[in-house]
């Protein structure tokens, strides 16, 4: 049963990067809520801002180029945007954890898995005894399905397969029993049979621990299989948000509609023309005025060029940022 009090509220979040060509907003006015025990998907194509959203929440934006320009991130009611570094240390990795796409780049290649895992406990639970920490570490490796965990503690990351590395990453993230796990494309680099193993594991761990998960992916199939609710992002903005079943049944934003229609499915008749979304995602340096999707939208109207459309509630708990649903009264 989902507790309706949000554990995390992202409100009007705008994150910008200073680049040689000027300041760009990677995400612009993004808002969503994450409830306790909820698995929320964020889906979108490259450059839509889904990873920047995650890094903003974790306060892991590259310094000094990445800055949160405005907006609030409320973790259990407390705004963590302005939190001092040492206070954030208390939260990051312990109460909000994150796993990344390529575990090889997030694991330290020169340290044994055991050392990297015990380090987490040393950092966050300094009062624990070494023997106890080692025992806990082995236990968590076992829990994420790593065979012979005692031996694996002595291995280096390059000595194990990609699927096993992602399991180690999950073990690291879950070591402190976080309340929120942010998973940024955790299965994208994996083969489909290994992806099935990892998704299965994440679902099982979520049920056991009751943690809330933000699942970031570009794969609508992964969303459909893992998330209760979903936020669709396009060019730094939220295009649509709804319960997963509702979104797939009644996609309302033309981008979501186009995206779902363009995926070849197993039952699509072979060698037929696929639906496409014309054109390409606009560069963040040259965003169109008004709605960012209007240059590719089949339903574009005059109003779309004027101002960015607000999120409009098109059905219960179903929001779309599109003037098609704008009622002028």
């Amino acid at each position: 049963m989902i507790d309706n009090n949000p554990i995390l509220q992202v409100q009007n979040l705008t994150t910008a990067f200073d680049t040689e060509a000027g300041r760009i907003r990677a995400i612009d006015d993004v808002s969503f809520d994450l409830k306790k025990e909820q698995v929320l998907g964020i889906v979108g194509e490259s450059g839509c801002g889904k990873s920047v959203t995650a890094l903003s929440i974790m306060r892991l934006l590259p310094k000094p180029v990445g800055v949160i320009e405005s907006g609030r991130i409320l973790f259990k009611g407390e705004d963590i945007v302005g939190l001092e570094a040492d206070k954030m240390h208390e939260i990051r990795g312990k109460r909000i954890s994150m796993i990344f796409q390529e575990p090889m780049t997030s694991l330290n290649p020169v340290h044994r898995i055991g050392k990297q895992l015990t380090e987490v406990f040393h950092l966050h639970f300094s009062q624990m005894a070494d023997a106890e920490i080692r025992q806990e570490s082995i236990e968590i490796l076992r829990k994420v399905g790593i065979p012979e965990p005692e031996q694996r503690m002595e291995e280096y990351p390059h000595g194990i397969s990609g699927g096993m590395r992602q399991r180690v990453m999950i073990a690291l993230a879950l070591a402190c029993k976080p309340e929120i796990l942010i998973a940024d494309e955790p299965t994208t680099a994996l083969d489909v049979t290994i992806q099935a193993q990892i998704l299965d594991l994440m679902k099982k761990l979520q049920r056991e621990t009751g943690m809330a998960i933000i699942f970031i992916t570009h794969d609508m199939g992964v969303i459909a299989e893992t998330c209760q609710d979903v936020v669709v992002m396009y060019a730094g903005k939220v295009a649509e948000s709804a319960a997963t079943i509702e979104l797939f049944k009644n996609p309302r934003h033309p981008y979501t509609q186009g995206l779902l229609a363009s995926i070849p499915k197993l039952e699509t008749p072979r060698k037929t023309k696929l639906n496409i979304i014309e054109g390409i995602v606009p560069s963040l340096y040259e965003l169109p005025t008004g709605c960012r999707f209007r240059t590719r939208c089949p339903h574009v109207m005059d109003i779309c060029a004027l101002e960015s459309p607000p999120l409009i509630e098109v059905a219960e708990s179903h929001f779309a940022s599109c003037y098609l649903y704008w009622k002028n009264d």
Binding site: T193, D219, A224
Partner: protein, 331 residues
Amino acid sequence: MTDNLLEVKKLKMYFPIHGGILRRRVGWVYAVDGVSLKVRTGETLGLVGESGCGKTTVGRTIARLYKPVGGNVIFDGNDLARLSHRALREVRRDLQIIFQDPFESLNARHTVRDILQEPFQIHNIGIPKNREEEVVQLLSRVGMDDDALIRFPHEFSGGQRQRIGIARAIALKPKMIICDEPVSALDVSIQSQILNLLLELQSEMNLTYLFIAHDLAVVKHISDRIAVMYLGKIVEYAQADSLYDHPAHPYTHALISAIPVPDPQIKKNRQILVGDVPSPIHPPSGCVFHTRCPYVEDTCKVKVPELMPVPGTTDSDHLQACLRAGDISFD
């Protein structure tokens, strides 16, 4: 009966591993180990499998980017495995290849004009003053404007670069194109644009494709027939629809059931394989899939299965390599 434009027989490609101070050969990577395939004229054969299964090596060995250790590659009547480099150059007019990331296959220091004129220069086709026109036509055929001519590959998005790669591949009107993961690096909305383009070009130019990919939904969409690879071997070969509707090999079945379906209301009975793909340096004895197969028996560990018609049928269009194919069913 359609003719086979390409017939691969018992293709073997091993890569040596060197080690020690003297860099002596200490072993082999058995990347492709006895692969046989037929691709009919004007059709698409999809080749699927997970990373490390050898599918890319099959494509590259067919194009003779590698010289095979054994086997034959009969393309349009010639055995490419035996041809000299001079003779190969002629054949390559008819056999082109598209890569996953065109950024690596397009010379970063050449303009699009140079890149697309190069095939004509190499093969000495046409006269230089007409080439510009040919190149403009190629660009428009793949959906690009001629203002791309003076630009460099890095100025384009991934999808546009893939269009340039395709333009180069079709420049000399080849008979066959080997497509090696051509849409894997692209976003979904761009992926469908490129797939549509490949389908259009196929019917316009009567192209034959070998389409290599790991995404089964994509492969099924574009292919007439599909071969499934695992650890250097073909484990199943069938007409695309029957492969999905009636997989005969346990690996094919697991692979299909692992695809996340973009429909939250479909609850699948998923077969999750345990463990990882073994190393092609030390492939398992007997059936290479036996270490992960849920239906393994003792014989599987010793006897090497051959690609054979599905038991109970004589359909040479549906072949599989499982010793237990007759007595297992997937429900």
